[in-house]
């Protein structure tokens, strides 16, 4: 049985951090986060940041109340990672494909992809951890099993979401393609974090905050 490589999460997080910093840098320099026409003046970025913060907080609290502190922390951290990374990548991609005034809505909506990718894995890990003792299955094995169990579902979900995004993108002009970019980016980011970050992040939170038999 292949194990989840504990070293992959820090590498993935470093890469994410690099991209986030790059996104912030290009946006601050005025090179990135481009909008069509005067869209930048029309977009309420402060409302977007507040909504992103609310999204992360709600995600953490829901996970905490529904499952445990470990799950809440994992979900909250993943929500923060995905939202920031999506916005950063959008800022970079917008250099080639300027955004429209609907960008904030698209970025916030991408939390749907995060939930759909991460929740099955986290629930599977939570159930395996509850059902098995440390001797039967260590955290590495639990994480690997959860990722493997849910791979088929997550892949089909990605394909169906991609079909809907492509349907939207091919229906209009380049401006519409640009408008769909945050959705496509959010979908890819959510898949990436589900595979590369969630298992190790959850293992860390579970080891620190979870009880095991």
């Amino acid at each position: 049985m292949s194990n989840v490589n504990m070293k992959s999460a820090p590498k993935a997080l470093y890469l994410s951090l690099l991209v986030i910093v790059a996104g912030i840098a290009v946006a601050a320099a005025g090179i990135g986060l481009k909008f069509l026409g005067s869209g930048r003046e029309m977009v309420a970025m402060d409302a977007l940041y507040i909504s992103m913060a609310v999204t992360v907080l709600v995600t953490f609290i829901f996970g905490l109340v529904r499952y445990s502190l470990a799950v809440g922390l994992t979900l909250g951290a993943v929500a923060l990672h995905d939202q920031l990374l999506t916005l950063a990548v959008v800022a970079l991609v917008s250099i080639a494909l300027p955004q429209t005034v609907v960008m904030p809505v698209m970025v916030i909506f991408s939390i749907v992809f995060t939930y759909c990718q991460s929740w099955p894995i986290i629930r599977a890990m939570h159930e395996l951890r509850t059902a098995n003792s440390q001797r039967d299955m260590d955290n590495d094995q639990i994480a690997a099993a959860a990722v493997r169990q849910t791979a088929g579902l997550r892949l089909v979900a990605v394909i169906m979401a991609a079909l809907l995004i492509i349907a939207g993108a091919v229906s209009g002009n380049a401006a519409l393609v640009g408008a769909m970019v945050p959705l496509a980016v959010g979908l890819i980011v959510s898949f990436y974090s589900a595979v590369c970050i969630i298992p190790s992040l959850w293992m860390m939170c579970a080891a620190r905050f979870g009880k095991r038999k």
Partner: protein, 445 residues
């Protein structure tokens, strides 16, 4: 002597009940879909009608009145304005132009025109691209007024300006059909307003926009709560004035130059193309479910149909318009239903392939992966509600429609699917081959 005849109760035929239930539900679904596509006259003269609400490529359909296309997906009105400084002899700066565009965007979003756009063109000109719904042309010109708002005494001396307004809104007064403007003041404004209205009891005050009195409400008592409602406006005025109270005046004076019609921002044929493209995706997803899950797949397709009819109806009810944000809300919630169905059906298929009975596999699916679907939907519904409260602009407006779609998903997944599945099992039987395309294996002893 005649013996009494025993009256025995005949047990209800469960198959007949299941058949009737399914036929009735199917008839309701088809009727709703038919009305959704065609609309319906509610009286013989055709004076009152239920508009169609499901978007179709047909140009004669009334759905565009229920879901008014925004500037992004529909033909639009392009208004051009020339910007000039407030003070004579001053200069128009780039910063002022940016601020003007930003404020115009906020005012338009405040009025519900989220797809409208404002942009600077050719130096000192500003172009507004607005949805062409024909009812608000003058409202847009009013929105482009400078909008320096103040409350003033009867002699015209201002005593309270927009800077003390924390929040403004507008709404229909059902008693007389007029619109009212409501406002909430900050602490300093509250005190000023209370003192002045106490002073002006029995007189009136003026609502001034750009130095011109637009309303003269009478004052019967001191208003000490820091909030009030001013009735007697029409819709256009109430939207414009409330937005000016909320966001303050434009830094420049705009003069209307021209009106012309423009193509949708996302392409001339985007409206029909996106309808066809999304229909094609639904067809592909439906084929997948039908081929993989057979009778169960048919139920899934039925649920998807109900979801689209219901969510589009609710979107029309809350006047979301036909915009990219509305499509994202409707089809995003559709995608979530597909995701929830995938969770359930994959679990059911796995159990059926191992030789489990269909009823047990449905039960286990809800007890296991079904909970993931409920968690995702419940968390998104909670998020939608909170963001509606927190954000009063674009994101809140989007979450209103999206939240309704998620609610529909929860009802369909939690209740309707169980009803359809149990009746289908009662009617068609428990043969696993009806519910999965895989070969059923005997479960190992």
């Amino acid at each position: 002597m005649a013996k009494p005849v025993k009256q025995t109760k005949k047990p209800m035929n469960s198959k007949a009940v299941a058949a009737v239930t399914l036929v009735v539900l199917l008839a309701l679904t088809l009727a709703a879909a038919f009305i959704g596509v065609r609309g319906m006259n509610l009286d013989n003269q055709g004076l009152y009608k239920l508009l169609a609400w499901i978007p179709t490529p047909s140009q004669s359909s009334t759905w565009r009145q229920a879901l008014v296309p925004g500037a992004d997906l529909g033909e639009n009105l392009v208004q051009t304005y020339t910007a000039a400084p407030v003070a004579e002899g001053g200069e128009v700066t780039e910063e002022q132009l940016k601020q003007t565009v930003s404020l115009l965007g906020k005012r338009l979003a405040f009025g519900g025109w989220n797809s409208a756009q404002a942009e600077v063109i050719e130096g000192n000109k500003i172009r507004l691209t607005l949805p062409l719904d024909g009812t608000h042309d003058h409202a847009f010109e009013m929105m482009a007024q400078r909008g320096d708002f103040a409350f003033a005494a009867p002699d015209g001396t201002p005593f309270l300006t927009w800077e003390h307004v924390k929040q403004a809104n507008y709404g229909l007064n059902p008693q007389d059909g007029s619109y009212a403007i409501g406002f909430l003041l900050d602490n300093e404004g509250k005190q000023i307003f209370a003192d002045k209205t106490a002073e002006l009891i029995g007189q009136s005050m003026q609502l001034m926009i750009d130095g011109t009195a637009v309303a003269n409400p009478g004052i019967n008592q001191a208003l000490t709560e820091g909030q009030a409602s001013l009735p007697g406006f029409n819709h256009e005025n109430s939207v414009a004035y409330a937005s000016m109270m909320q966001y303050g005046p434009l830094p420049l004076v705009l003069t209307h130059e021209s009106n012309e019609n423009g193509a949708p921002l996302f392409g001339a044929k985007v409206q029909n193309t996106v309808i066809w493209a999304l229909a094609a995706v639904v067809l592909l997803i439906s084929l997948y479910f039908l081929l993989t899950y057979r009778l169960g797949g048919l139920i899934a397709v039925w649920l998807m149909g109900i979801q689209l009819v219901a969510t589009y109806f609710l979107a029309a009810l809350v006047r979301s318009g036909f915009t990219v944000a509305t499509l994202l809300a409707v089809w995003g919630s559709f995608g979530l239903l597909v995701y929830a169905l995938l969770l359930l059906y994959r679990s059911m298929k796995s159990d059926l392939d191992r030789g489990r009975a269909i009823r047990q596999s449905v039960k286990d699916a809800y007890a296991g992966p079904g909970k993931v679907a409920i968690d995702v939907l419940a968390a998104l519904l909670l998020l939608a509600v909170i963001l509606i409260i927190v954000d009063h602009q674009q994101i809140g407006a989007f979450m209103r429609t999206f939240g309704l779609g998620v609610l529909v998903d929860l009802v369909l997944m939690g209740i309707v699917m169980r009803i359809l599945m149990s009746n289908a099992i009662n009617l068609f039987g428990t043969n696993s081959a009806l519910y999965t395309s895989g070969s059923a294996k005997k479960e190992a002893a």
